[in-house]
């Protein structure tokens, strides 16, 4: 691996050795069929050189993307938009978003002057410190895998402290999410985006003082401490983007749903920080059709299947919005392995009543948890043992599939990876 970069400082010997050994481990892991190898590669590299992440980031313009939902898609959309610049971009396209995954993404693209990195919301403070980013993107914050994740008010507080200590970075943040807005307001420069907030169950109260927020439409105001929605410069409005000059145009994305439109407007605000205009950025973003297998359409036994991945209540709410309406059948699948969170309590935070009257199939290792939940919402359903079982039971030209993390991976392994 050549680590002598034009315009970038040469890595010290120990760091060079670390990336080379890590790269070899990743190759072995890939050949052994264990995913893309980016995590194991990164872990081995970090063991050899703990400062590797900051050494690898030095001299690059880094964008960090974080939040509970939409990180992978937004990272992909920003990367597409910045491709207009015609320079190589380092990115963790497979979603390995902790320190090891980031290290691996950077060492695989040693001569890329740009880096767009999806970053786990719990690890963003040390990553800001290590990479000195040009832009930090804050998407949203909501309850997620409570058995292993930090509580979200506490997370927002940590984001705040990290941003206050990084005066040179620009934050692009969703003004419609009160927790995000409170965290972002500690930064010195913020581009506020009205990206919308479908899920509100975690932001009824003021993150600054705890008083019940007054919410009217998208506006939110605290009567106790004066904390309120900041004035925005970018707006998502009915599938259109309104830029800071007030120009409106349709997004026209291939990716479905309100959540992705919201991710796209945020990506456009990031592109602008790099001097990329809306028209040229959108032209590239419209070419993104599938992200790490999500939204992929596959044929299985004569049925057209679309796979949606969502990991938490806010994600499920958005995904249920995206689904092709009745009478197309729906397969919902839930697992509770470690990457999913072992606790299925979150199923009770989702409102399933809109599924009443359409064919619903229920699968996954924790299908009984979901079945009892649907029963409480008077949604009729049928239990299935596998995706083929669901295809047979659906008996329909189309099937919409919504699954959480490992359930999604299991189905994808059966119907085939398409990218």
């Amino acid at each position: 691996m050549d680590t002598t970069l034009p315009g970038r400082p040469r890595l010290p010997m120990r760091a060079r050795l670390a990336t080379t050994v890590g790269g070899a481990a990743a190759t072995v892991s890939r050949l052994a069929g264990k995913g893309d190898g980016s995590v194991i590669g990164g872990v081995i590299s970090l063991r050899l050189e703990p400062d590797l992440l900051s050494l690898l980031a030095a001299g690059r313009q880094v964008v960090l993307v974080t939040g509970t939902n939409g990180k992978t898609t937004t990272t992909r959309l920003i990367t597409a938009a910045l491709s207009v610049l015609g320079q190589p971009i380092a990115s963790n396209v497979y979603g390995a978003n902790m320190e090891a995954g980031l290290t691996s993404a950077l060492s695989r693209a040693p001569d890329a002057p740009l880096a767009v990195l999806e970053t786990d919301e719990k690890y963003i403070p040390p990553v800001i410190k290590a990479t000195q980013p040009k832009v930090v993107v804050l998407l949203n914050l909501s309850r997620d895998q409570m058995d292993r994740a930090a509580e979200i008010w506490m997370l927002a507080r940590r984001w705040r402290e990290a941003l206050a200590a990084a005066p040179d970075c620009r934050v692009v943040a969703n003004a419609d999410d009160p927790l995000v807005a409170w965290a972002a307001s500690a930064a010195s420069t913020v581009t506020w985006v009205a990206a919308g907030q479908r899920w509100r169950e975690d932001s009824w109260c003021c993150p600054n003082c705890g008083a019940h927020l007054l919410r009217e439409g998208d506006e939110w105001t605290c009567r106790e401490c004066g904390n309120r929605r900041p004035p925005v410069s970018w707006v998502l409005s009915d599938g259109n983007v309104v830029d800071p000059a007030g120009q409106s145009q349709p997004l026209g994305l291939a990716l479905p749903g309100r959540a992705n439109a919201s991710n796209a407007v945020i990506a456009l605000a990031v592109a602008e920080a790099f001097g990329v205009g809306v028209d040229s950025a959108l032209a590239k973003m419209r070419g993104v059709t599938s992200v790490a297998g999500r939204y992929t359409q596959v044929q299985r036994r004569g049925t057209e299947i679309r796979l949606l991945l969502a990991k938490n209540p806010a994600g499920w709410l958005e995904a249920l919005d995206v689904m092709v309406p009745a009478p197309v059948p729906v397969l919902l699948a839930v697992n509770a392995q470690t990457p999913d969170g072992r606790d299925t309590s979150w199923l009770w935070d989702v409102d399933y009543r809109r599924l009443r009257g359409r064919p619903v199939l229920v699968g996954g290792e924790r299908r009984l948890d979901l079945a009892v939940r649907l029963e409480a919402d008077d949604v009729a359903f049928r239990l299935v043992d596998s995706i083929d079982d669901a295809v047979d039971a659906a008996h329909s030209p189309r099937l919409e599939v919504l699954a959480n993390y490992t359930a999604f991976q299991q189905y994808r392994a059966v119907v085939g990876r398409t990218e």
């Binding site: 309850r143 058995d147 509580e151 979200i152 008010w153 009824w204 109260c205 019940h212 072992r342 935070d349």
Partner: protein, 235 residues
């Protein structure tokens, strides 16, 4: 039957709505008329509820909710008049005389149960099994706990259960009850896998024995319960 959910804007962390939905469904299936009241933290707590529910919360919301309930006084009055109160996790800790605040410092609780809580050494996260006080006639509890609290029971309460697997109060007991006030570390939708506990609360509120549900109406809940009981090894 009036079900009052206390402060869903502050005390609804992870599936807490499940307890409300389970009670509502099991009451309706028996032909009891049900009204659900969700009381936010900027509203007064009504005095005429039959069952009051309190969910979990992060450290700061727990402190804020306690302060407001204390100032409001409605919950105390309802309990004095004999209402049923069921609280999980952070809500359970709040019922005591004292609990650990955001930095672990002791803060005064609502004083509705003779318990006091502090912060333990490490977080108890995982499936919990516990055998219920035989006086209550409820089968083994199955649930999920996620807390760092340690709770000491005073002389005016009884443990809700004895821990089989998991942490609970930290001394081998789990939860507490006194009169018609009942709290547990089983978090979120604790009543989903424990329909017997749901029916105990409904029976207290109705003041009489309730007819059993038609078997098909609770077949799935019992299957889920059996699956979880079988999946968790008894320690």
């Amino acid at each position: 039957m009036r079900l009052v959910w206390i402060y869903p804007d502050l005390l609804s962390t992870y599936g807490d709505r499940g307890n409300l939905l389970v009670l509502e469904r099991r009451a309706r299936l028996r032909g009891l008329p049900v009204e659900v009241v969700e009381v936010n933290s900027d509203q007064r707590v009504p005095l005429d509820g039959d069952i009051y529910l309190m969910g979990g919360g992060e450290d700061l919301p727990q402190v804020l909710a306690t302060r407001r309930l204390q100032a409001d006084g409605g919950l105390h009055e309802a309990v004095r008049q004999g209402a049923v109160l069921f609280a999980v996790c952070a809500g359970y800790q709040m019922l005591g005389t004292e609990f650990g605040g955001a930095d672990g410092q002791p803060l005064p609780g609502l004083g509705l149960l003779d318990i006091s809580s502090g912060r333990g050494e490490r977080r108890g996260v995982g499936e919990i099994l516990a055998d219920v006080d035989p006086a209550l006639g409820v089968p083994r509890l199955t649930g999920f706990e996620n807390h760092q609290g340690v709770t000491r029971l005073g002389g005016d309460v009884k443990p809700l259960a004895r821990v089989v697997t998991g942490v609970g109060n930290g001394d081998g007991t789990e939860g507490a009850h006194s009169g018609r006030v009942l709290g547990t570390y089983l978090h979120g939708p604790a009543l989903v896998r424990n329909p017997g506990l749901a029916d105990l609360l409904l029976t207290w509120a109705a003041g009489q024995q309730l007819p059993p549900l038609p078997p098909q109406a609770e077949e799935l809940a019992l299957r889920l319960r059996d699956e979880r009981l079988a999946a968790v090894p008894a320690q």
